[in-house]
Subunit: 385 residues, 2 copies
Amino acid sequence: MLTRAEAPAVASLGDLTEVETPALVLDLAKLDRNVGRLAARMAALGVVLRPHMKTAKSREVARRIYPDGYGPITVSTLKEAEYFAADGARDIVYAVGISPDKIERVAALRAQGVDLVVLLDTVEQAKALAASAAGPLAALIEIDCDGHRGGLAPDDATILTIAEILAKGGVELRGVLTHAGESYGCRSPQALEAAAEGERAAAVDAAQRLRAKGFACPVVSVGSTPTSHFARDLTGVTEVRAGVYMFFDLVMHGIGVCAVDDIAVSVLATVIGHKPEKGWILVDAGWMALSRDRGTSRQAVDQGYGLVCDIEGRPYRDLLVSDASQEHGILSLRPGSGETLPDLAVGAKVRILPNHACATSAQHEAYQVVGAGAGLARWPRMRGW
Amino acid sequence: MLTRAEAPAVASLGDLTEVETPALVLDLAKLDRNVGRLAARMAALGVVLRPHMKTAKSREVARRIYPDGYGPITVSTLKEAEYFAADGARDIVYAVGISPDKIERVAALRAQGVDLVVLLDTVEQAKALAASAAGPLAALIEIDCDGHRGGLAPDDATILTIAEILAKGGVELRGVLTHAGESYGCRSPQALEAAAEGERAAAVDAAQRLRAKGFACPVVSVGSTPTSHFARDLTGVTEVRAGVYMFFDLVMHGIGVCAVDDIAVSVLATVIGHKPEKGWILVDAGWMALSRDRGTSRQAVDQGYGLVCDIEGRPYRDLLVSDASQEHGILSLRPGSGETLPDLAVGAKVRILPNHACATSAQHEAYQVVGAGAGLARWPRMRGW
């Protein structure tokens, strides 16, 4: 028998048998691989990668990405901005439209030396920023590239109106930002490449129109996990944002962005019962541990509430979490499957790959990290607003 | 103008304009009314109510229900048991099937004087309890009344096998427990009454079969929020469990268990943008604040990600959260509605009633409590396992 010092790195997986369930597991080797893959891709395309911390919400994950000190990051809440700023982040884009009552918190971070840049797409927001006495502010104008959510069309005259209001009010216009949210609905590499090009073109178009009117617009920010992996040309773009790429998930696999084996997060669960007459295995991970996200229900392959793996992360063919209540998950075979149920006794442990890494991870207080050394590490997550 | 002391109780709603969003709001008057309604109903039917704390996960809510000291409660996780026990709870049912690795934590609470009772429905679990040297344990056998999830049919011989294993192992058999989970799919008072009667009959049948074999089976525990509100007769039942009844939600309204006006929790959000050409209003509450729960999508009236109200909690007719991303909600009118969009400027606040109170509340760290005094109170929530 090997001693711990002699054991191979994967031996730390064995420690998962001792973890109380349900629990969120993070595979560090897969995280590193995913992070390295997009970093290399962005470097080859000549743009800055600005990782979106809304998925991981963890200082330890951020430090893994930036072992030599923080580079640029994106956040989805001011509390994320405050949390990462307290850990050393100094270059942050808050990529959700600013509301007037949040300006004071933004200014407070900027007063501490954090270059926190806000997002807007209305004249009302521009006026609120311009009228603020809270200190020098900086903003990006949100551009709509695919009708997904917010933002202004590149040729919308409101963009110039906003730029003028900001300029008069002493607010720095940093540039433009867009997000190809519709890329999550793409079903082919061609469609993903087209979504990436549409995202690039809309942002560059808006930036050029601003520059033609005398606004410098140094930043042209685009990004989503699907488009960042399929963009072939990013001419005119200065930075790319992505978040779920660190972990990946079954939705990303369904789109064709990653392999199942790339998914770095899973929910560890314990078998608590059986219903053999129904072909059910019951586990102690329900929607509280998995989230209610059913993103793959709109894809070609519906993965239920998640795909079930053994404790080492190897998927059982066709075994899904077919239903979930608050603290119960029901495992059963995919309809029409020719497989047989694995023999999982009460007390046995499984790992469940999530539909949506952001949503599932948010249900947990911490990661149980596999591969960070001889044993398991515990990396906390932040939450709230 | 009224001073604070002279202002009516509802004036505290005005304080919501100062709350940072998104935030979870709890209306204390509605909580009290809901709690009082079911308590009166159970008293009239002659059974004990054992409130399920999985919905509120809050000591302050528990103390509101039990102002003179804790009575019986139900929990869905051992961490809930530990949290409420630390606050004084001494009579707790852990209503999720026990896994062998959790027995030590159960025994530790019991050693502190907490009558924590576990649930099981397999011979494997019975053997694990019987083999435990962790201290005297007590258990309920889970009965299946409607094929919803776990549990044994009342005439399943395994029930007696389990009872015998427990008896030989020195584990106290407290009785039987069932949950009419299928009642969430009922669509008429008649169907709900039938579900309640089915739940009662299954539990009483199982208890009688145990008693016929010499097992005392003092506890006959049933319950769900729908059946507890529609049961007409609970003969043979000793206690009823319910959780979401404290808050109610749009799913419960869709089933016919409550009025919209009974819903005690809502998510406060701020308008951050508009897409007039699409009929959209954007707010800063996405699925992170609302949860991914879309329970009403399977009901006659689909409420999207929630029904939108003004800051005082009055619904805008037909205004729903029609889509949600992590930190964005899109408000739009129900398809086919003849209403017009309300005039909500950037910075305006709304309150969103949830599909599922348990899931939405779980996304938040605390309640902003309206009606607990002159201003707002902050009541923390617990989480985890």
